[in-house]
């Protein structure tokens, strides 16, 4: 289990606004080194913005985001590039470069950021692809492999520079149950064997409970619950209960303004 005093990610009172809209509202979050954190939340809760913030794709409007003690909000573009080299991101679609083979996808960060010769790069490609079970598919194009394999290939690319944190954006999206289990086992395996801190964004509950050391639930740009899987499963909080059990009735559904719907249908204001 991760050391409870050793935080690798510290978000302190972070707010992100796009124009008038507040997407993340004074969030505070600590992630321990080596921890597997799953961030849950419905559509529009702010999960993707939080991931973009942690992956240095979006800047915070206020507050601090410290990774390994370094505030990434105050970094220059060059410093952010150094930070980006130390993390890995698995995108929802895999985001493989379609014009390159799987092997070349994995090799790209190595060719761009290291002085390694081609022979060494080829060895590393094999090692990374073996980790995700795709070594024999190195020569194939992304269009020639299945959705689950694309996710695993994207993960091999994310691992290319030996990141200390991996962010997973909806790793289960669009996969069949067997592939979901394979990807989950891969996330757990990489975390346990390489010690890499794992932050997963999902709303796939089975997968979330299988992977997480700890879960947080986001709603309207804020964290509304935080705890280990057992605690979240047995929570009496109506919002957590509704989300975890996937119920149609509850606080999330009650937010829909039925009067506004009627007025909209009848053309009234």
């Amino acid at each position: 289990m991760p050391d409870p005093t050793d935080n690798i990610i510290e978000c302190d009172d972070v707010t992100v606004r796009f124009g008038e809209q507040t997407v993340l509202d004074r969030l505070t979050l600590n992630v321990r080194r080596g921890e597997r954190l799953v961030i849950l939340g419905g559509s529009g809760a702010g999960k993707s913005t939080l991931l973009n913030l942690l992956a240095a794709e979006t800047r915070a409007t206020s507050g601090q985001v410290r990774i390994d003690g370094q505030d990434i909000c105050g970094m220059s573009e060059t410093q952010l590039d150094d930070y980006r080299k130390s993390i890995g991101v698995l995108f929802q679609s895999g985001a493989l470069f379609q014009s390159m083979t799987i092997g070349d996808n994995v090799a790209l960060p190595l060719r761009e950021h290291t002085d390694l010769d081609e022979e060494t790069i080829q060895i590393i490609i094999k090692m990374k692809l073996e980790l995700v079970g795709l070594r024999e598919h190195a020569h194939k194009l992304p269009s020639q492999i299945s959705g689950g394999m694309k996710k695993r290939a994207g993960l091999a690319r994310a691992l290319a520079l030996d990141p200390k944190i991996i962010f997973y954006d909806e790793p289960s999206a669009g996969l069949d149950p067997v592939s979901v289990t394979e990807v989950d086992q891969l996330m757990i395996g990489l975390n346990e064997t390489l010690g890499v801190t794992t932050v997963v964004i999902t709303h796939e509950m089975v997968s979330a409970f299988r992977v997480a050391h700890r879960l947080v639930l986001m709603d309207q740009g804020q964290f509304v619950a935080d705890g280990p899987p057992d605690e979240m499963k047995n929570s009496s909080d109506p919002l957590v209960y509704q989300f975890v059990n996937g119920l149609a009735e509850g606080p999330l559904a009650d937010r829909r303004d039925r009067d506004a719907y009627t007025a909209d249908l009848l053309g009234a204001y």
């Binding site: 794709e57 995108f91 493989l96 960060p109 761009e112 290291t114």
Partner: protein, 269 residues
């Protein structure tokens, strides 16, 4: 704020156009700033050169046939249209001079660039647009790889270099087209035609044409890259970017050509 009156609409369109031209200018500035890295970078240089060669092949080599055919026809059409009028004035012998100057200074670079817009510009916009939709640009940034350096620089350099090369080829094909129909319609022998063309066309006519072709090439490369990288909204966004690329590029090429011609005229060049 909604724009309602004609004056407001005009102002809004003016602001949008100015903003768009400014954005293309900034992109070209970034390309100019990052291009020296093709030579000076210690890492990723081979990949950058491979990328440049591939783009030059894709933009230039594959379009030789189409550009050659179109400019041959333009030369032939000009000879058929102007020849009889000159013959009426007893100045049929001036035909090679007129076609030569027109092709070298104006039509060779412009027609070549317009053909390339349809051939390469649209495909660049569609390619980068699809990459934007598939999160590939985001994936590049997450690996600390600048999409401008990795994707835009090779494309803009390739279109610039190849538009200059194709302009030379277009000039030659236009002259050949003119010689072909002049021989059939006016009885001017090809030898006589070519001799007179070389006597009439000076170095300066060739160089101003090639200079213009270089600028056209930068426009043909930067404009689709900008539109493609800013695609939003999936497949329809990619389609819109492709259409905009062709329309905006042709308008931009003709406007820039007019500007050059006006400046050269004022400077009596």
């Amino acid at each position: 704020m909604s724009v309602t009156t004609p004056v407001e609409k005009l102002g809004s369109a003016g602001l949008k156009t100015t903003g768009f031209i400014g954005a293309i200018g900034l992109l070209l500035r970034d390309v100019a700033a990052l291009s020296p890295r093709m030579v000076t970078a210690t890492r990723g240089r081979r990949l950058a050169w491979d990328n440049l060669w591939f783009q030059m092949y894709r933009v230039g080599v594959r379009s030789i046939g189409v550009v050659g055919l179109v400019t041959f026809c333009i030369g032939a059409i000009l000879a058929l249209q102007i020849g009889p009028i000159l013959e009426d004035y007893g100045a049929a012998a001036q035909l090679p001079t007129i076609i030569g100057i027109a092709m070298f200074r104006e039509l060779g670079p412009l027609i070549g660039a317009i053909v390339l817009t349809g051939f390469a510009g649209a495909s660049i916009a569609a390619e980068l647009g699809t990459m934007a939709v598939a999160e590939e640009l985001k994936a590049l940034r997450s690996h600390a790889i600048s999409p401008i350096r990795f994707l835009v620089v090779p494309r803009v350099l390739a279109t610039t270099i190849m538009t200059v090369c194709l302009a030379t080829f277009s000039d030659a094909m236009g002259v050949v087209g003119g010689a072909f129909t002049s021989n059939l319609a006016l009885g001017i022998t090809p030898t006589q035609y070519l001799r007179q063309t070389f006597e009439a066309v000076g170095h300066f006519d060739l160089l101003t044409g090639l200079f213009k072709a270089g600028v056209f090439g930068a426009i043909i490369g930067a404009l689709p890259c900008y539109l493609g990288m800013n695609v939003r909204g999936g497949a329809s966004g990619v389609g819109a970017a492709t259409t905009k690329t062709v329309v905006y590029s042709i308008v931009a090429l003709v406007c820039v050509d007019l500007l050059f011609t006006f400046v050269f005229y004022m400077l009596e060049l």
